[in-house]
């Protein structure tokens, strides 16, 4: 199905099953930073150190964990961009000058970046609210590597990271939430400010600065030391559940007061996605948001969230080019994107 997007693996028994609340919580992610005691960190590292580290991790994994290594220098610029769009690497990682490599497990949901800002950055992503499943997968890989090397660790400060803002657990957990109810009732700012007061970072995703696209928000923990990993995950899960409650209440209000208007908006969005001949990625995000709302409320019945998640990822600029296997100018991309979405929604 995704022959050209090698790391995009359709869900199978090898991927983590979707967690709960998977309409409002689009995805959960965990990132864990680790460094090797005896190797200089990014700023003081030389080219041979970087090459040594890649060789070392290749030799340790060596088929014992199923998956694939990709050296970024061997990938086409479009493929590097695609890794980013699939959330398997970080934006900074694709721009590093030193040799970098990424290992992606066979489920396509846990990756290990080598020579990021920290020597190793494990990253797991799963749909819905599912930190327990995700953290066991991520820490299993972390423990496997940790069994073979000496991590930089201090009894007082925990895992030592390149930047002091990650020291301790080295762990950052985040949730991507779809909050059209709160955006519509203008409550979103209030709720997100509350989240910041209790030590969470909140930002709109897809879109620069304060511009919000697709009613999507990312919430993540600010502090990485002074809490156990499980406590941090519990706090963020608790907060997510609180926000889900408020979002559901806002949606109830919307659907009680203006059901016809919202049904109209949802079905018009579906109609555009099924009929458009050219469409840009921002419009897709906004239409998908309305459709997701419709699927969540049981108004749209014949489309699954899994299909919407796939469209959200595949319709991104680099992925859509890889999907069709050709380099496309912006306007050609918009035409091909519309074609892919029509096909995916069964509109031919």
């Amino acid at each position: 199905m995704f022959d050209n997007i090698r790391w995009l693996i359709p869900s199978s028994d090898k991927t983590l099953p979707c967690g709960e609340e998977n309409e409002i919580v689009v995805s959960s992610r965990i990132r864990v930073a680790r460094n090797i005691e005896s190797i200089p960190f990014e700023l003081k590292m030389k080219q041979p150190d970087a090459e040594y580290l890649i060789g070392l991790i290749h030799s340790i994994i060596d088929g014992k964990i199923r998956g694939d290594f990709f050296d970024l220098k061997d990938l086409k610029p479009l493929e590097r961009e695609s890794l980013l769009e699939c959330h398997l690497v970080s934006p900074g990682f694709t721009k590093k000058e030193k040799p970098t490599s990424v290992f992606i497990n066979e489920g396509g949901n846990v990756s290990l970046m080598i020579n990021e800002e920290d020597h190793l950055r494990f990253q797991g992503i799963g749909c819905g609210l599912n930190f327990s499943g995700l953290s066991s997968e991520v820490f299993r890989m972390d423990e496997f590597i940790g069994d073979n090397v000496d991590y930089a660790f201090s009894d007082r400060y925990g895992f030592i990271t390149s930047c002091p803002t990650n020291i301790g657990t080295g762990m950052r957990a985040s949730i991507f939430m779809h909050l059209p109810g709160l955006v519509f009732t203008n409550e979103v700012e209030k709720v997100l400010k509350g989240a910041m007061q209790i030590g969470m970072t909140v930002r709109g995703i897809y879109g620069e600065g304060s511009e919000i696209r697709g009613s999507l928000f990312q919430i993540s923990n600010q502090h990485t030391i002074g809490f156990r990993e499980g406590e941090l995950l519990e706090r963020i899960t608790k907060l997510a559940k609180m926000i889900i409650d408020i979002e559901n209440k806002a949606r109830d209000v919307i659907l009680t007061k203006a059901r016809s208007e919202f049904e109209d908006k949802i079905f018009r969005s579906l109609a555009i996605l099924k009929a458009a001949r050219t469409i840009d990625s921002t419009e897709v995000l906004n239409l998908l948001s309305a459709l997701r709302f419709g699927v969540g409320a049981g108004i749209v019945k014949d489309i699954t969230l899994q299909t919407l998640n796939e469209i959200m990822v595949v319709s991104r600029p680099a992925n859509i080019q890889l999907y069709f296997g050709e380099l496309l100018e912006e306007h050609e991309r918009d035409i091909k994107r519309a074609e892919y979405i029509r096909k995916r929604l069964g509109a031919g």
Binding site: I39, G146, N148, V149, S154, D155, I160, P164, G168
Partner: protein
């Protein structure tokens, strides 16, 4: 309800403090609450706090140098990144308050680095040696290295 201070704008912030002998209640508008310093300043993110703290320089900074990677405390304050694992122990007394202000804690309570076998480095070195031996057609030496690798449980050498 009007603001207790200016008696002009509507009160939107309700402040209550219970003291041992009395309870103080104030109903204020945002402007007057801010004048009294009752509104916390905008909450800074850890990165913003870090950059603020890094600006506090001292004459000693150039003299505190990590013996392993030669990063000085002054350099650390310029770049906000450690140069190696040893930097943390070297700068410990200078960064303790700093970590605490960023994270509201300076004590790790999470997972520990496990003892493990730590054989990864040795296996990798042997593999590299094996490649060199084979390149140089030193087959006797290669056989010895292969045996060592087999002792580590590596079958496919």
């Amino acid at each position: 309800m009007l603001c207790d201070d200016c008696k002009n704008r509507p009160a939107s912030i309700f402040f209550k403090e219970v003291l041992p002998d009395k309870t103080v209640e104030l109903n204020l508008c945002e402007e007057c609450a801010s004048k009294r310093g009752l509104l916390g300043a905008k909450k800074l993110t850890p990165i913003e706090i870090m950059h603020k703290l890094l600006k506090q320089k001292s004459a000693q900074d150039e003299k505190v140098i990590c013996p392993r990677c030669y990063m000085s405390l002054a350099e650390f304050k310029r770049v906000g990144r450690f140069g190696c694992a040893q930097c943390v122990a070297t700068f410990d007394e200078h960064i303790r308050h700093f970590i605490k202000q960023i994270h509201q804690s300076d004590r790790h309570v999470g997972r520990k680095s496990q003892a493990g076998t730590k054989k990864g480095f040795e296996i990798y070195r042997l593999r590299e040696d094996l490649k060199k031996a084979l390149d140089n057609e030193a087959y006797e030496e290669a056989a010895k290295i292969r045996d060592k690798l087999k002792n580590y449980g590596i079958k496919d050498v």
